[in-house]
């Protein structure tokens, strides 16, 4: 205690971070997400490393994404972030169909997709079924409007921007101009990973990380015309 007083500082007894050396693979097959053209569908193959630093991207000796129904391959392209870029992924699905395979615009709700990655001497596999698209409708109120959506058998949970009234509705404060609101259905892998922050992997075997999917639907809320 005296030492602490004299030095006016007592060091932390436990390290604030713990370095690790584990393989990590991350990808979410997203459909119709707003602003998706920024990233498309990225795939991250990396090493966990030092938590103080961003994950370290690692090359994959082999990376395959295929549609389970017909074993159709999706076209996975290596991606090199431009210098200084904040983009942090090293692979991505091509946007459209080419001779090398399907693109991310060919992803369909209800389909199951499989992932195979060989990296850092490890074999990583994963599987996800893209949830069905929810159907939205608006019930207008006096000051708050309610957006309802249909329940999907392939969706494990829904993500909404606004305060929920139930697991299939949300309350939207009256907007001043036409505004698009979004609801995202997520698969079981995504939902489990999001709901347990200590979960280290979901939807994949052989590495930390996530292989999941989501489908987003939107509807535009139009404010009522002002009364005279």
């Amino acid at each position: 205690m005296a030492v602490c007083l004299v030095s006016l500082g007592c060091g932390a007894s436990v390290p604030l971070t713990v370095a690790s050396n584990e393989a990590m693979v991350y990808s979410v097959l997203a459909i119709d997400a707003p602003f998706q053209e920024y990233n498309g569908v990225p795939i991250v193959v990396a090493n966990t490393g030092d938590p103080r630093l961003a994950v370290v991207l690692k090359p994959a000796e082999r990376i395959v994404v295929r549609r389970q129904r017909d074993r159709a391959l999706l076209n996975v392209l290596p991606f090199t972030p431009p210098p200084g870029s904040r983009v942090g992924y090293n692979y991505a699905l091509a946007e459209s169909t080419t001779v090398q395979g399907l693109g991310w615009r060919d992803l369909r709700p209800g389909e199951t997709y499989e992932l195979e990655v060989q990296t850092q001497g490890r074999s990583v596999t994963g599987r996800t079924t893209i949830p069905e698209r929810p159907v939205l409708r608006v019930v207008y109120g006096t000051t708050i409007d309610t957006v309802f959506w249909s329940r999907s058998s392939t969706a494990a949970a829904y993500e909404s921007d606004y305060r929920s009234a139930s697991d299939t509705s949300m309350l939207v404060p009256r907007v001043s101009e036409p505004t698009a609101v979004y609801v995202t259905a997520v698969d079981q892998n995504y939902a489990a990973y999001a709901q347990d922050h200590r979960l280290l992997r979901s939807g994949i075997i052989g590495a930390f990380g996530l292989f999941g999917s989501s489908t987003t639907a939107s509807i535009t809320i139009t404010p009522p015309a002002p009364t005279r």
Binding site: M1, C4, L5, G9, C10, A12, S13, V14, L16, T17, V18, S20, Y26, V28, A30, A33, P34, F35, Q36, Y38, N39, V41, P42, V44, T48, G49, D50, P51, R52, A54, V55, Y158, E159, D161, Y162, R163, S164, D167, L171, P173, V175, E177, T179, Y182, T184, V186, Y190, Y193, A194, Q195, D196, H197, L200, F208, G209, L210, G212, S213, S214, T216
Partner: protein, 756 residues
């Protein structure tokens, strides 16, 4: 004359006296002592006291903070009532920020007027001075909330003239909603709470509005942030003493007028405008008195994003009335308090540099409280008895979602709630005090009933003057509290909702204090040293379950079972606090002042079978305030604060997690052992100089100060107690050096004040 040792051998006679202000109102909490004897006491609420003295001629001296001490001779025995009048001290700057005219191991008083000595960050703030009280800490340089004696920030109450306040802060809890000039003093109690105020388990901060001076007073203070004004009018229209203190800010207009950009170079830099008002009306007579207090505060934030429901706003209104009547040895007190606190905000937070769409904030909090109490007291030769009844009716409507914070801040606090609660709390209390030779003993009992269950809280206090200069006090009591905030407030956001509890949190508190004050001559050097040991055993303390701790914000948003069932998802845990403080206050005849305190403390909870520190635990705390006169008119001030780092949860692993429709992702920090590491310690040095001079009927104060003069990087981002020690948006902050990156810079400033 006789020596103190002779007292017991002689037959004692009782004298009775009363202390009043210059306007005739009774003055409570006045220390009354007999020169050359150990006998001393404190006046009751009716301003009266009694003392047991040996026959002879004695001098009785009365003193209270902010007033010039007075004394009178008395020939014992006597049947006459001794009458003493206290006059407000001149407006000379006081030397001590924290003063202890009373037993400082029980009550510590801060004079807002003394804040003028303390180098201030922006506005002078009474709450910012609280860390200079031993065993009191604040999270960082931004957040104004406090922790008393190892308690959580929602475990103490704030009262104004005895009426409870709910949200007396401005600018998202950055500083208090009180113009310091509107206050007479601020009392901080952590040990030996009165039996009428057992509803906060770690203590209370009792603010007292400025009473009427003997002469009218006008004060006007201008700054770049706000303008404040105080009007004190004794005997206004011959009816009542009136004090009006108001403050209004315009910093947002200045930001816009000067074209100051935000950190991204945009026009999104917004700052709330705020106002506060304290009105105090008092009429005091010999046999009765009435006092009304009105408190108003309001913050308004400029709108941003898609807002359709007006400007975000928060504030509080409180109206309090107090009546007393005295009939010989009997006295009645009645109190009525009406309070409403609200926060309303419906908007989206836009970041022009963020490609992601904005996410909305939805807050609609309204907390109403009506409190009424009535008590009857009787003061006899050796006994004093008090009985009373109190009723609290509270209604809280909390609709609250802070989705914008979910990807930016790791916290144990939930980010959504939708609960409406009502509570009626009936309490009866009684207390008896007995003078035993030189000691004074008090036994008290309070019983509170809510929803059919009754909770009993006993209390015992003992004060024993050991010598003419040393006072020993002991207290043990049970306290209960019928509300809780779900987690510590999040930096940069409004206070989360307060939930009403039918099963209260409980604490058994014990304290032993010793105060040593060597006898000094009038106008000479003064010294006071206080040592306090305190211990607290907690039961049924509501905390959030582990599944919500560690930044599981996405989970909290999606798992509606977590959100919609609050507060039943509170876990009840036990714990304890053990601490010791040592405080010293020295003022020399030449004007040097040293005031300091050291606190050693351990506050722990037992969760899931493990004992672990609470997130706000600070093992060591050292504060010092040094004032040095330079010449006749200059004064140099050095303010030093140190406390050891708070417990945090280290990062065990760094992964990625989806955000926003699954198309984007951010860092996912997997927590290690909960609260097993310590954040860097806090260390800050402020210096200032002041020059004071007086012209005809005016006092001028020129000040220059440097905040954080040694540029200690204490960190502003890592302020959420118990959270992962990382800033989620940038992993580089996940270590000690990173945590210190964003910190208070060296801030020099100058100021000029005029009073007349």
């Amino acid at each position: 004359m006789c020596s103190a040792q002779d007292l017991d051998a002689q037959s004692l006679a009782r004298i009775v006296g009363c202390v009043r202000a210059a306007n005739g109102s009774p003055m409570s909490s006045v220390r009354v002592a007999v020169t050359d004897l150990t006998a001393s006491t404190v006046t009751k609420d009716n301003g009266c006291f009694s003392l047991e003295l040996p026959p002879g001629e004695w001098t009785v001296r009365a003193q209270r903070i902010g007033y010039t001490p007075t004394q009178a001779g008395v020939q014992v025995p006597t049947r006459d009532t001794l009458r003493l009048t206290l006059v407000r001290a001149s407006r000379t700057l006081p030397k001590s920020l924290v003063v202890g005219e009373l037993d400082r191991s029980v009550v510590t008083s801060i004079q807002p007027a003394a804040l003028r000595q303390l180098p201030a960050l922006g506005e002078r703030d009474v709450f910012r001075s609280l860390p200079f009280v031993p065993a009191v800490s604040q999270p960082n340089d931004i957040i104004g909330r406090v922790h008393l004696a190892g308690g959580a920030s929602d475990e103490h109450g704030v009262t104004l003239d005895g009426h409870p306040l709910q949200a007396p802060f401005h600018v998202l809890q950055v500083f208090g909603a009180f113009n310091p000039a509107s206050l007479d003093r601020m009392d901080v109690r952590m040990a030996q709470l009165p039996v009428s105020a057992f509803d906060r388990i770690s203590g209370s901060v009792d603010l007292h509005s400025r009473g009427a001076d003997t002469v009218p007073v006008r004060e006007l203070q201008l700054s770049l942030v706000s303008t404040s004004a105080v009007i004190v009018q004794p005997s206004f229209l011959g009816v009542a003493d009136v004090t009006i203190a108001g403050r209004s800010s315009y910093v947002d207009a200045i930001i816009r007028g000067l074209g100051i950009k935000d950190v991204n170079g945009g026009d999104d830099l917004r700052f709330p405008t705020y106002r506060d008002l304290v009105v105090s009306i008092s009429r005091q007579r010999q046999q009765w008195g009435a006092h009304g207090t009105y408190f108003y505060t309001r913050d308004r934030l400029p709108p941003s994003g898609q807002t359709a429901a007006g400007r975000p706003t928060s504030g509080e209104r409180m109206l309090g009335l107090t009546l007393w009547r005295s009939m010989g040895a009997w006295r009645t007190d009645s109190k009525l308090s009406l309070g409403v606190a609200d926060v309303r905000q419906f908007q989206a937070i836009d970041n022009p540099n963020d490609p992601l769409p904005s996410t909305p904030v939805f807050i609609d909090i309204r907390q109403r409280r009506v409190s009424g109490s009535s008590s009857l007291s009787w003061t006899g030769s050796k006994w004093r008895h008090d009985v009373g009844v109190q009723y609290d009716a509270r209604a809280h409507d909390n609709a609250w979602s802070l989705f914008n914070a979910r990807e930016r801040i790791a916290t144990s606090a939930p980010l959504s709630a939708d609960v409406s609660e009502r509570q009626g709390l009936l309490s009866v209390f009684g207390e008896s005090s007995r003078t035993l030779s030189r000691a004074n003993m008090t036994l008290g009992l309070r019983a509170s009933t809510v929803e059919g269950a009754t909770h009993v809280m006993p209390r015992v206090n003992l004060a024993v003057p050991l010598t003419t200069t040393t006072l020993l006090s002991f207290g043990a009591e049970r306290r209960v509290q019928f509300d809780a905030v779900a987690g510590e407030p999040i930096e940069g956001n409004v206070n989360p909702p307060t939930y009403l509890l039918s099963t209260p949190r409980r604490a058994d508190v014990a304290s032993v204090g010793a105060t040593w004050r060597p006898t000094t001559k009038t106008g000479g050097s003064r010294m006071q040293a206080t040592a306090t040991l305190f211990a607290r055993r907690n039961e049924a303390i509501p905390v959030l379950p582990l599944s919500v701790i560690g930044g599981v914000l996405e989970a909290a948003q999606r798992d509606r079972s977590i959100i919609d069932t609050l507060p039943p998802r509170f876990e009840r845990v036990s714990g304890h606090v053990i601490g010791a403080t040592l405080a010293i206050d020295v003022t020399t005849r030449s004007g040097w002042m040293l005031q300091g305190g050291y606190t050693r403390q351990r506050a722990e909870d037992r969760r899931t079978g493990r004992v672990q520190p609470v997130p706000w635990d600070a093992a060591h705390q050292l504060v010092a305030l040094l004032g040095v006169p330079i010449g006749a008119r200059w004064q140099f001030t050095l303010a030093q604060q140190y406390r050891s780092g708070a417990p945090v949860t280290p990062v065990a692993l760094r992964l990625l997690q989806p955000i926003r429709y699954g198309a984007f992702y951010s860092d996912r920090f997997v927590p290690g052992d909960e609260l097993s590491a310590r954040a860097p310690s806090y260390n800050r040095t402020d210096i200032g100089v002041q020059r004071t001079w007086q012209t005809k009927r005016r006092e001028w104060v020129l000040s220059a100060q440097v905040i954080n003069a040694l540029y200690r990087k204490n960190g502003l981002d890592v302020s959420v107690p118990g959270s992962l020690f990382c800033k989620q948006s940038s992993g580089e902050f996940c270590n000690e050096n990173g945590a210190r990156q964003l910190s208070l810079p060296i801030i020099p400033s100058i100021g000029l004040e005029v009073r007349w």
